[in-house]
């Protein structure tokens, strides 16, 4: 656990000696005096600086294919005209007060931020902040005017306020540093290459890689309410990925990720080799398995599949999102907004869902969704979202919605695009079953439905839901490959690892070639049973989060066989399969 120094802002704020904080604070004073024509000065300004120091390496088939390192510092200036009641944010035109000035130069990382010097140079930082604030203020005045002009004369329902005030927090935590010696890194990169050479020994493999990324991310936040924050994390992620092809030349890809706070915590080379061999073997078994034309009946989601199911159905929707004035609520993949279900049943009795960003680890594994402060300067709290199956509340940023107001410390996504986002989502059932009992429950449910077997799904291919947090380039390719074959991309990825579990003796046989019919959040009400051993699904890219859930047995789902036409063309054996 990191030591957290929390100082509620006293009358005289401690004079911070951090040049970044000092430059932001000093320029903020000036920004609050900005005036354009007849418009008022901003009522609120917040600066977020995201400082990232990263290294990355990737190996494939025994060779290192990419090594990158870099450092970047990006500023987002949220300058708001108007008042907490009605301000320039979230305007229908999309023009808001965010972003940076042209003179400051755009960040190469996109996202509308302004690049800042990576050196702690007070003058150069202030200069960039000056121009970014100027541009943001001008846009906010324009956005507010447009918002007022588009406002309906009389509104059917009272409009929620634009923004909620928050208690300012001052806390300068020690800077997070990558602190990886080159020699240690190189040794690990050698491991990557060695582990990846396992791919060469498997004739079914068509693609694969072993990658390692390490990032020290320090976040600074200064607001006109008096917040002064600096906090950082170091996260290291190792990823094993492999793809095989089915006889119809459909690519099946799967990956395994390890999250750690230091290189030492990562699995050893030998452990990685064992895991990778197992991953490849499982994929090869799946690719060789018989196709199933369709299925209607009970489905057991275990392993990562249960978390992927919740990710697709709940991850976006459980976070309260404001409605754009004059526009419809944006519909995100996997993002059916659940506000209409508030106070109603979401899952069967006995289920509890809690989001707790303050949890740093679970069963010794670091959780990606842990953070000290959100991007609006609010320290997060654990939120009991679902109690006994009833949706009690939702995760909130500082932007209120019709039903929910008051931040829960979940406003995240970088300074320029803050939205309520889950942190660590814990799903539990008070009467969770052991593995054997759950297996039996699947067989019973299948027997009950008059079936010979039930299905157990242990992993899904990445679906649209994963895009919210940024999937890897390889996963993206697979997704687009899926679409290029004329299929819709759904929030829920295709089942990847599927086995028939026979009613009579419980034996299992792998099958493949299935896709889900549309699955909506109401399917969760038909959960028949849950396990008691939770699995962790860490998403470390984009805005990191974690889903911790036991296995889930759904009473009935429809799955269809994917139609496939084998492509024409060559069949050149892979180099490692030529038998040289």
């Amino acid at each position: 656990m990191l030591p957290i120094l929390l100082l509620l802002l006293p009358q005289a704020p401690a004079q911070p000696d951090d040049p970044v904080i000092r430059a932001l604070s000093d320029e903020l004073q000036r920004t609050m005096t900005l005036r354009l024509d007849g418009a008022d000065p901003p009522y609120y300004t917040r600066y977020n600086v995201d400082d990232t120091d990263f290294r990355r390496a990737e190996a494939s088939f025994g060779g290192v294919v990419d090594t990158t390192r870099g450092r970047s510092r990006t500023l987002s200036a949220d300058v708001r005209a108007g008042s907490y009641e009605l301000d320039s944010s979230n305007a229908a035109t999309g023009a808001s007060g965010f972003g940076g000035g042209r003179g400051g130069g755009r960040s190469s990382f996109g996202g509308g931020g302004t690049a800042l010097p990576v050196q702690d140079d007070y003058d150069a930082i202030r200069h960039a902040v000056w121009l970014a604030s100027d541009a943001a203020y001008k846009r906010s005045v324009e956005a507010l005017a447009e918002k007022l002009a588009n406002q309906p004369k009389e509104e059917a329902e009272p409009r929620p306020a634009s923004f909620t005030p928050a208690e300012p927090v001052a806390s300068l935590l020690p800077l997070a540093r990558l602190g990886i010696a080159d020699a240690d890194w190189e040794r690990r990169v050698e491991d990557l290459a060695a582990v990846s050479s396992l791919l060469n020994r498997h004739p079914d493999v068509v693609d694969g890689s072993v990658s390692l990324s390490a990032a020290a991310r320090n976040r600074y936040l200064v607001s006109s309410e008096g917040a002064r924050l600096r906090h950082g994390t170091v996260l290291i992620e190792l990823r094993l990925a492999a793809s095989v092809e089915t006889p119809e030349r459909t690519r099946l890809s799967q990956s395994l990720r390890y999250l750690a706070l230091s290189l030492e915590e990562l699995p050893s080379r030998a452990e990685l080799e064992t895991d990778f061999a197992e991953l490849v073997a499982t994929l090869a078994t799946t690719a060789a398995a018989p196709r199933l034309d369709g299925y209607t009946g009970p489905v057991l989601f275990d392993g990562p599949a249960a978390a992927q199911l919740f990710e697709a159905l709940l991850a976006r929707g459980i976070a309260a999102q404001p409605v754009d004035p004059g526009g419809e609520r944006r519909r995100f993949a996997g993002g059916e907004n659940l506000e209409r279900l508030a106070g109603k049943r979401l899952l069967p009795a006995g289920f509890r869902i809690r989001d707790d960003p303050t949890a740093a680890t679970f069963a010794g594994t670091p959780l990606a969704g842990h953070y000290a402060f959100d991007d609006e300067g609010v320290s997060p709290r654990a939120v009991d979202l679902v109690t006994d199956g009833i949706l009690k509340t939702m995760l909130c940023s500082r932007t209120p919605t019709a039903a929910f107001s008051g931040s829960t410390g979940h406003g995240r996504g970088g300074g320029g695009s803050v939205r309520a986002t889950l942190g660590n989502l814990f799903i539990e059932h008070e009467d969770g079953l052991g593995d054997a009992a759950l297996h039996q429950a699947l067989r019973d449910a299948a027997a009950d439905a008059g079936l010979e077997y039930g299905l157990r799904i242990s992993a899904l291919a990445p679906g649209m839901a994963g895009l919210s947090s940024g999937v890897s380039a390889r996963d993206l390719r697979a997704l687009f490959q899926q679409r290029s074959r004329g299929r819709e991309m759904s929030a829920l990825g295709d089942p990847l690892q599927v086995t028939k579990v026979y009613v009579d003796d419980g034996r299992e046989e792998p099958v493949r070639g299935l896709e889900f019919d549309t699955v909506s959040v109401t399917a969760l009400r038909d959960i028949q049973a849950a396990g008691k051993t939770p699995a962790i699904w860490n998403q470390a890219t984009g805005t990191p989060y974690a889903i911790i859930t036991p296995a889930i047995l759904l009473e009935e789902l429809d799955l269809y066989g994917i139609e496939e036409t084998p492509p024409t063309g060559s069949d050149l054996p892979a180099p490692h399969a030529r038998g040289r």
Partner: protein, 566 residues
């Protein structure tokens, strides 16, 4: 073969620090060649279709950038990547899988797959073989499928306007240069760009500024089923100094100065950088005070470097061979070979084999193009008469061989592009004389003034048949030259517009002052480094229009950096 190579290399030996030496064949080239042999033998569709041509090229690029603004370091990045490009063709030289599909709109069935795959950075044979296999299989499937579409398309459409083959037959080449490496001392350069960039702190009206050094070292390896085997290296380095501000009317004003070099020791000194940066700042601040001029038609001089950009945009892009073949192109010059397209005192060549000109390194220099064809000096215009086009391996009727201008950015298919475009004149006078002629021309046309275009930031030109055959050039330093002898006056906010054929016919005379413009040119096949060299030109009539203006206002508050601090 060796004779030809020696010929094209001779001019370099003097000006180039490390004369290229033939090394032994690099192991990676051998591996590429082995895999080509294997694939050409084994690759076949169920109906027996095989590729007739396969080439692999691997571009290994190390790039580094160090940038500073106002005395502080921004990004400091270094990156290495190796990209594989392959050209796999099904069919034969006459008609193959790359043939345009008519009636399909645009690229028809799309380009064959296989461009720009990342491959192992070390020469690990297994990892590289694997990447080659993967890309080759996908490219073959795509080429096979596309060739079937091409054949079907041939049957259903009327006979084509041009009957040129799809791919030229060329002699294989074998040549290996030593591997090159980037050697920018990050410690030294970080301090240098930081110090120079701090100069801008004294100027509260300079809103944006940047000083950077950037370099790429590219080692390119190529092997083809025709037997070519190559390794070539290219190093491109730049120091870029830029500054921007806004006029009181909100007009964005930007200036930059670029030092180009082909080796680290030819980069500028800190003093030279500081002087150039000061010049850029002074110029952009002067532009702030300059009046905005009204639309105008009349005589003008394009100063040498500006004229180079002008010729690159207006002329160069229109003599790229593939545009003569594409029915969607305007084809300004397609049927004009043997006819006058420029005044008789002008000749134009494109000579990529030239590494430097009057002491300046040329970015458009290369020994072999991206299809592995030796670069050649091509005489495009002799005494005003169009001779030929810039050719890649995509032949035209009457031009069935490449002249070494098939170029691309890694990851894209090559098309014909410019290298070192050079405008030569037999009616050349000293600049002062040219200026006197401009004033005389003003009087003759009863115009109170003419223009001198000193610097051009770039331009664009539409060569497509659907659009007008027009161009726009974006000057950044423009002076008004008064006929009555008043001092020259800096102005701003004008663009040059026109149509190429009428514009060329109005060139009256040139200066005797050829100078080099080094740039990067973007087109279908991506960004490629190019050079345009030209003397100043006097044009009888040029049309300018007012530049579209930004509505943004000046910053509300003054700069937070107090001038006395700096």
């Amino acid at each position: 073969m060796s004779t030809l190579l020696l010929l094209s290399l001779t001019p370099l030996l003097a000006g180039f620090p490390q004369a290229p030496e033939a090394s032994a064949e690099p192991p990676l080239v051998t591996l590429l060649a082995e895999e080509i042999e294997y694939s050409m033998q084994e690759l076949a569709a169920e109906d027996g279709t095989k590729p007739y041509y396969l080439s692999y090229s691997v571009t290994d690029t190390v790039s580094a950038t160090i940038q500073a603004r106002l005395g502080a370091l921004y990004a400091d990045s270094e990156r290495r990547e190796r990209l594989l490009d392959l050209d796999l063709r099904v069919g034969d030289y006459q008609l193959d899988s790359t043939h345009p599909i008519r009636g399909g709109g645009g690229f028809g069935g799309g380009f064959p797959a296989g461009g720009g795959a990342a491959i192992a950075l070390d020469d690990d044979p297994d990892a590289i073989r694997f990447a080659l296999w993967q890309a080759t299989g996908a490219a073959f499937d795509a080429a096979y499928e596309r060739f079937r579409q091409v054949e079907a398309n041939q049957k259903t459409m009327v006979e084509e306007e041009h009957q040129a083959a799809d791919f030229s037959r060329e002699h294989p080449v074998s040549f290996f240069e030593d591997e090159i490496a980037l050697q920018i001392d990050a410690g030294v350069w970080s301090e240098r760009v930081r110090r120079v960039s701090a100069l801008a702190k004294k100027y509260p009206l300079i809103y944006g500024s940047s000083v950077s050094v950037a370099g790429t070292a590219e080692n390119r390896l190529l092997a083809s089923s025709e037997g070519s085997r190559l390794r070539t290296g290219r190093k491109l380095l730049r120091v870029v100094l830029s500054a921007s501000t806004r006029g009181e009317d909100g007009m964005e004003l930007e200036q930059s100065y670029i030092f180009n070099a082909a080796s680290e020791d030819r980069l500028p000194t800190e003093q030279e950088m500081a002087a150039a940066f000061q010049g850029v700042i002074d110029q952009v601040l002067a532009l702030r005070q300059a009046p905005v001029v009204e639309p105008y038609t009349g005589p003008a001089i394009l100063l040498n470097r500006a004229s180079g950009v002008f010729f690159h945009e207006i002329f160069g892009h229109r003599i790229e061979g593939h545009r003569q073949k594409d029915v969607s192109e305007g084809q300004t010059f397609t049927n004009m070979v043997g006819q006058a397209v420029l005044p008789a005192f002008l000749s134009v060549v494109d000579d990529p084999t030239l590494a430097s000109f009057r002491g300046e390194d040329l970015r458009g220099f290369y020994r072999f193009d991206d299809e592995g064809i030796p670069a050649r000096r091509v005489e495009l215009i002799r005494d005003g008469i169009l001779q030929t086009f810039l050719m890649s391996r995509s032949p035209l009727p009457g031009f069935d061989r490449s002249n070494g201008h098939g170029r691309r950015e890694p990851g894209r298919p090559a098309v014909s592009r410019q290298g070192n475009l050079m405008v030569e004149s037999t009616r050349a006078v000293p600049f002062e004389e040219l200026r006197r002629m401009l004033i005389e021309e003003c009087r003759k046309q009863q115009k109170p003034y003419g223009f001198l275009f000193e610097d051009i930031s770039g331009g664009f030109t539409s060569t497509s048949r659907g659009g007008p055959q027009a161009f726009k050039v974006l000057p950044i330093v423009v002076r008004r030259i008064w006929a009555d002898g008043r001092p020259d006056e800096l102005v701003r906010g004008v663009d040059i517009v026109g149509t190429p054929l009428s514009c060329f016919s109005k060139i009256l005379c040139t200066g005797d002052d050829p100078a080099v413009f080094n740039g990067t040119c973007g087109a279908e096949s991506g960004w490629v480094p190019v050079t345009a060299t030209s003397p100043s030109i006097l044009v009888e009539e040029i049309e300018i229009e007012r530049r579209e203006r930004s509505q943004e206002r000046l910053p509300i508050l003054p700069s937070p950096i107090a001038p006395e601090q700096a």
